[in-house]
């Protein structure tokens, strides 16, 4: 990253003057991803997700507009009004307290509502009471799960048709699922509550992850469009060039996508306390970062690993390698070999612009 800074670095990546051997080092990335996945599974199994009230069912009270946010006050009040219930107290924003207990009947609810209002010195109308049946969150997330399954299948079919290569679509889907797994692992590790909002966050991760992989894969597709018509570089080299060429875009996109989410995370997590915004933004923040990284380090290497098994591409790779070995044997100069290996996308023989080279009439 010498003189031109980031822009110069981008130029070098585009031309292939600077190239990171991302595809070539795929074993490293695969082991790292494997490590993370196993760790996530372990965390999910042993620590588990901290399911919110929407999944457990129960009654929830929110005191708003109080100057006193002492949590012991709520615990004492609950113990007094409905003994035997274990309250779960969290602070919501600068002047709110949320109390969650197992399900209460109507009289107990009203009683506790009044008692909490009294304890915190606010009108009972400022204490809202919610009750959630245990099946509510489950039914919502079950439907979300089914929606996801259908969406993943539909997206896989769409990508297989668009790229005309089912291996590419498999690579994208597998990478996406691993993204979600790792994000869920991080979420479980931090131990924040899983609410329906979290589910929404994870669905967005799916969408973003797949979106990002589409963009990177489209570049791979573009670079390998006339692959078999040339013998200069292999599919892996073309894919590596594509990844390097989209690196700048990937970085810019992830930063731009992460900035607003960081905004929500900051506002939701630090200013607002528990709530929809916080739940969504944490899962999103982790998910977008993981998704963008995996498009480069997991999805594309995985695609190459899979597609090198494709007979046509395997044959082509062998042909290119043989030719190159032949060149070396003939004592060809190294710059030619280096040029061959860097395989710029522009070196497509027989490509002619035809009428597109002519000046266009202004519309």
């Amino acid at each position: 990253m010498a003189r031109g800074g980031f822009a110069q670095w981008g130029n070098d990546l585009y031309t292939g003057r600077r190239s990171y051997p991302i595809i070539q080092k795929r074993r490293v990335w695969f082991s790292i991803v494997g490590l993370f996945s196993v760790a996530s599974i372990l965390v999910l199994v042993f620590q588990g997700l901290n399911l919110g009230i929407d999944f457990r069912g129960g009654s929830e009270f929110t005191v708003s507009g109080t100057s006193n946010t002492d949590q012991d006050l709520a615990i004492d009040t609950v113990a007094e009004v409905v003994p035997g219930h274990e309250p779960h107290v969290t602070q919501v924003g600068p002047n709110g307290v949320r109390v969650q207990v197992s399900q209460l009947n109507n009289d107990q609810t009203t009683e506790l509502q009044n008692a909490l209002g009294e304890a915190y010195g606010v009108e009972p109308s400022e204490v809202t009471a919610n009750f959630i049946g245990p099946t509510w969150g489950q039914s919502v997330s079950m439907r979300a799960l089914w929606g996801t399954v259908v969406f993943v299948i539909a997206a896989a079919v769409f990508m297989a048709i668009y790229f005309r290569a089912w291996r590419m679509s498999v690579a994208a889907i597998v990478a996406m699922l691993l993204d979600v797994l790792v994000s869920a692992g991080v979420y479980a590790l931090i131990g924040w509550e899983v609410t329906p909002s979290t589910i929404i966050g994870f669905l967005t991760i799916l969408g973003f992850s797949l979106y990002d992989k589409m963009v990177v894969f489209d570049k791979v597709r573009e670079n390998s469009v006339a692959l078999t018509e040339q013998t200069r570089s292999t599919y892996a080299e073309r894919a590596n060039l594509a990844v390097n060429q989209t690196l700048v875009r990937s970085i810019n996109t992830s930063v731009v996508a992460l900035l607003p989410v960081a905004g929500i995370l900051f506002v939701g997590g630090f200013l607002l306390g528990a709530g929809t915004l916080k739940d969504i933004s944490l899962s999103l923040f982790v998910g977008i970062a993981v998704g963008a990284t995996s498009s480069i380090f997991l999805a594309t290497p995985l695609d190459v690993a899979l597609r090198e098994g494709e007979p046509k591409i395997a044959a082509h790779t062998k042909k290119v390698m043989d030719l190159r070995a032949g060149l070396v044997a003939e004592g060809a100069d190294e710059s030619m070999l280096a040029a061959a290996a860097s395989g710029s996308a522009q070196l497509v023989p027989g490509h002619h612009q035809g009428h597109t080279a002519q000046p266009k009439r202004r519309r």
């Binding site: 919610n130 929606g147 969408g207 607003p260």
Partner: protein, 610 residues
């Protein structure tokens, strides 16, 4: 071009027109407003989730759900609650959202089971009260439910509970009666209730289950067009197996063009219905009518023309195709032994709601500002186009949401706002993909005008493909999920569409225009497209002339100039050979190759030495 501008401006115009001519006010809660409608979690209110449960495990059809929603809406509306949102969620859930605070009685009312009963008609009267309710306070005691929905509209005099004596009196009268159509069953208290009942008062049209099947029922027509005194229940709604609408067969077996509703009873229902129709047919009107009572209100009161022995009745009359279908739906719904269970009740105080809205918008602004700063840093002046496109996309999204909340009753919820904030990233990505492609083309040595043209073709394909996946996820999630997930999917899909529209109809045309502005065309330092930053190869302009940064260098060769040249060499390989010979002349290709080879060999030797 004109069409484009029209498409972008159309929603704005529509919203303004709607605001002008169908403005939102207290009388017109569904009217258009310049501000989008807010969901419960942002404006505060109560949400009740009901789950429909059939006691015999039979399937709940979508039509039955529609009817159930209709029944609940009737109850809520008649209770004086305005702007309640009632929607089905999934196959068997109904979400009732009521702004503001709701007392437990209302919840109890809306979660009551809706039942259908067949009762004989004893008397029909005009809907208005013939005596003032206050004149006969005890008149309400009728043994059955005076006016439907007795327990909810507790303030209504007509809704007072009947006293025990009156019930006893009723029961005695019914026992003494020869059959359920006997007019002797109408005790003075029932008559008084009937006189007092005013069916023009919406309170009396809210329905409500729980009428005692063994007693008389004084109630209104569903539309408030008439009031009835009805005998004890003769046939239960659950004895009806099916109700369909269709054209009635004529006398000679041919199909007439009269619409009607066909009823089909089960074994028990057939027996009971035969008894009823046999008894009713010879009676004088209105006693030859039987009333179909759904949720405490009379849906239809056809007269019996013949004894139905086979359990297959048909109702005909002045039906149109639609009214027949409506009645058939209502009857099918009533035949389900449906009850509602409260699955969840959620109250959000108005202060918490507005606080969340403010914080959410604040978060959005912070995010937007950060994106603006970053894109200006990355793309310099060109970043302004990103910002402008985001502003256009934002304005369109706002207007479309406001339009949808007018036209479709869409309500913006907190997950929806989160979806919008996240969409900033997705939307900006289209511009990033586009700009990067333009830069790629510039790096290949094309003029800006050509680079924009070709870059657009390549970027467009990527954008379409990637956005298609996004839209796919949004559509599938919208149709398959419920609740907050649905609102989120909706905003995601909406912003995806708007994003594509903005890129095609705004960003790209503006970029084409910018390509003609000298500032960008010549690659000014601050334009984000400067040759400097992009390492543009020198471009041959014809007649031995080159454009680009190299044109000056060509005259006066400098040692470090070749450093900037574009070479096909990977990071780990050879240093570059100069393109300009020692005498300042541009080398031929062969000369250059030779020099390169020489340099490579030297480099290799050097490496071996180290």
């Amino acid at each position: 071009m004109l069409l484009t501008i029209l498409t972008i401006l159309l929603p704005f115009g529509a919203l303004l027109a709607g605001w002008q001519f169908d403005g939102k006010s207290n009388d017109n809660p569904d009217g258009a407003s310049l501000a989008p409608g807010l969901a419960l979690d942002l404006q505060g209110g109560t949400q009740v989730v009901l789950e429909a449960v059939t006691s015999d495990g039979s399937e709940i059809t979508p039509e039955a759900m529609e009817e159930a929603i209709g029944v609940i809406r009737q109850r809520v509306d008649a209770n004086g609650v305005t702007e309640a949102e009632i929607a089905s969620q999934g196959d068997d859930q109904i979400v009732v959202e009521i702004p503001g605070k709701v007392d437990p009685a209302t919840v109890a009312l809306i979660s009551q089971a809706a039942q259908m009963k067949f009762r004989p008609v004893l008397t029909i009267g005009s809907p208005v009260a013939t005596v003032q309710p206050s004149a006969s306070p005890s008149a309400s005691g009728d043994g059955a439910d005076a006016a439907a929905g007795d327990d909810a509209a507790a303030d209504d005099a007509a809704a007072a509970e009947p006293t025990k004596e009156e019930i006893a009196e009723q029961e005695k009268a019914i026992k003494a009666a020869t059959d359920p159509s006997d007019l002797a069953q109408i005790t003075p208290s029932v008559q008084a209730a009937f006189d007092a009942l005013d069916c023009t008062d919406p309170k009396n049209l809210q329905g409500g289950g729980g009428d005692n099947p063994n007693l008389l029922l004084v109630t209104c027509d569903q539309t408030g067009a008439a009031k009835y005194v009805l005998g004890p229940v003769e046939v239960d709604g659950t004895d009806l197996t099916s109700a369909t609408s269709g054209l009635q067969p004529g006398g000679n077996g041919a199909v007439s063009n009269v619409w009607g509703v066909n009823l089909d009873f089960n074994g028990e229902g057939t027996t009971k219905f035969r008894e009823t129709t046999t008894r009713l047919t010879p009676l004088e009107p209105p006693r030859n009518q039987f009333a179909i009572v759904l949720d405490g209100l009379v849906v239809s009161a056809p007269s019996s023309n013949a004894a139905i022995t086979n359990g297959q009745a048909s109702i005909s009359g002045s039906f149109t195709r639609d009214t027949a279908a409506t009645l058939a739906n209502q009857l099918s719904f009533g035949s389900l032994p449906l009850t509602f269970e409260v699955q969840g009740q959620n109250t959000i105080s108005a202060t918490l709601g507005s606080e969340q809205l403010q914080r959410g918008l604040f978060a959005g602004l912070i995010g937007l500002a950060l994106v603006v700063v970053y894109s200006l840093f990355q793309y310099r002046t060109l970043g302004l186009l990103t910002v402008l496109s985001l502003v256009v996309a934002g304005a369109m999204t706002y207007v479309v949401i406001a339009l949808l909340s007018w036209g479709m009753g869409y309500r913006l919820s907190l997950p929806g706002i989160a979806g919008l904030i996240v969409a900033i990233g997705f939307t900006a990505d289209s511009f990033i993909v586009y700009f990067e492609r333009i830069r790629d083309e510039l790096r290949d040595g094309r003029t800006l005008r050509l680079a924009v043209q070709r870059g657009w073709l390549r970027a467009r394909r990527t954008i379409y493909a990637a956005k298609a996946v996004n839209l796919l996820s949004a559509v599938i999630l919208y149709f398959m999920t419920v609740g907050g997930v649905r609102g989120f999917a909706f905003t995601l899909g909406l912003t995806t569409i708007i994003d594509v529209m903005v890129v095609i109809w705004f960003t790209h045309p503006v970029m084409e225009l910018l390509a003609k502005v000298p500032f960008f065309r010549d690659g000014h330092k601050a334009s984000g497209l400067s040759a400097d930053r992009l390492d543009v190869a020198p471009r041959y302009r014809g007649a031995g002339q080159f454009s680009g940064p190299q044109s000056a260098v060509a005259d006066a060769p400098v040692a470090d100039a070749p450093d900037r040249e574009r070479e096909l060499v990977s990071a780990q390989s050879v240093s570059k050979a100069p393109r300009v010979a020692e005498d300042g002349r541009r080398m031929t290709i062969a000369e250059r190759r030779a020099a390169e080879r020489k340099a490579a060999a030297e480099a290799a030797q050097n490496e071996e030495k180290h």
